[in-house]
Symmetry: C2
Subunit: 222 residues, 2 copies
């Protein structure tokens, strides 16, 4: 059975779970507590990070970007990168924006302080980091709202990896209750459409010890 080593509240892992679901590729998800630095896991991925996908034929594919490019080449029935060169640049640009810029400024601050510190026993959230995260969230979500207002899907008129990358980040932030949806109505409408896709269901039933998501987290009419 195809196996995904992951952490539930990681945007990079959630992106892969969504993409595998969208491409209808069945997999077993195994939680990997990366901070324990398990030698068998480090042998699979010297970078020591999740996600890592292991195919039935034994091929080990680490890193969410590497996994996405691999899945696109290996299973091209449900293409998620666009057709033309310009479309593919725009999809990959937005994925890089969410996984790089948005992660640095927003997601990693909240997930690092509120989730990873708790899970790995590294103390309490640092209020300064969270305040920086809130300050950065406003202009960044405004940019996403601008995209959602002007396009059917985030990268254009087709559903793409950009939507799954974005939904992965926002769903992590929503899990810990940190998004004020009333400020970004176009993002909320787009996210409601994403949330109602079958591939999203497993994410909505994620539970993490010690963290209770808000009631509307799993609600499709939030």
């Amino acid at each position: 059975m195809r196996t995904l080593f992951h952490l539930p509240i990681s945007p990079y892992c959630r992106k892969i779970r969504l993409v595998l679901g969208e491409k209808r590729l069945p997999f077993e998800a195994i939680v990997e507590r990366v901070w324990e630095e398990r030698p068998e896991f480090l042998a699979m991925n010297p970078a020591g990070e999740v996600p890592v996908l292991v195919e039935d034929n034994g091929l080990i594919v680490p890193d969410s970007h590497v996994i996405c490019e691999y899945l696109e080449e290996a299973y091209s029935d449900t293409p998620l990168l666009g057709r033309t060169l310009a479309e593919r640049v725009e999809v990959r640009r937005l994925v890089a924006w969410f996984d790089g810029h948005f992660a640095d400024e927003v997601t990693n601050r909240f997930i690092g302080e509120r989730v990873m510190k708790r899970l790995s026993g590294r103390g309490n959230p640092d209020g300064t980091v969270l305040r920086e995260g809130y300050a950065a969230m406003k202009p960044n979500l405004k940019y996403v709202n601008h995209l959602a207002e002007n396009r059917t899907w985030l990268a254009g008129n087709f559903l793409s990896l950009a939507d799954f990358a974005a939904a992965a980040h926002l769903s992590c932030l929503d899990f810990i209750g940190d998004i004020d949806w009333s400020r970004v109505p176009a993002v909320r409408d787009w996210y409601a459409r994403m949330k109602s896709r079958p591939c999203f269901r497993p994410l909505l039933s994620d539970r993490v010890s010690g963290i209770t998501p808000p009631d509307y987290y799993a609600n499709l009419d939030f």
Copy 2:
């Protein structure tokens, strides 16, 4: 004329300069002082980072990973990602390892403290960060040495994007004189082969105000 907005001592920009050179795609390189947040530049790349490639047809391609995938699809004469799915996973895995893990632990610490702080007028290098960088450099270069000892090129028996990503990081560290080559002889032999490629020449003549590279930086028999 194809244009690359870049910074000379950025591993991500150097990777693109090497790849453009290897693929024999002429370009004009323009230094972009990203910390000045020039509005015209932010309009091209909302992430505000270099490299950004602008093609003759007006297509704007930001982000080193996006540029590499784009160049591979648009100019496939000199393929740099490998042929089989497994080869492509290994090439991309190593690129992600250098641009993610190695950058976080090593390159960004040195470049951030010794180069970016000076260029953007943000004070003196933080000794603690540099010490962390030196401590992390040893095990990381040991892993690269292991690859160089056991393979013709870093990802296998073919020259690939992994070699250019690696050479980009090591050439930045070499520019500021922070690599003890005697500890990693296999890396030195591999780097000497990389350095002698025509695409490398422009990097060896880079000069940055206030930073003098060591004498051996531009020497092919270092």
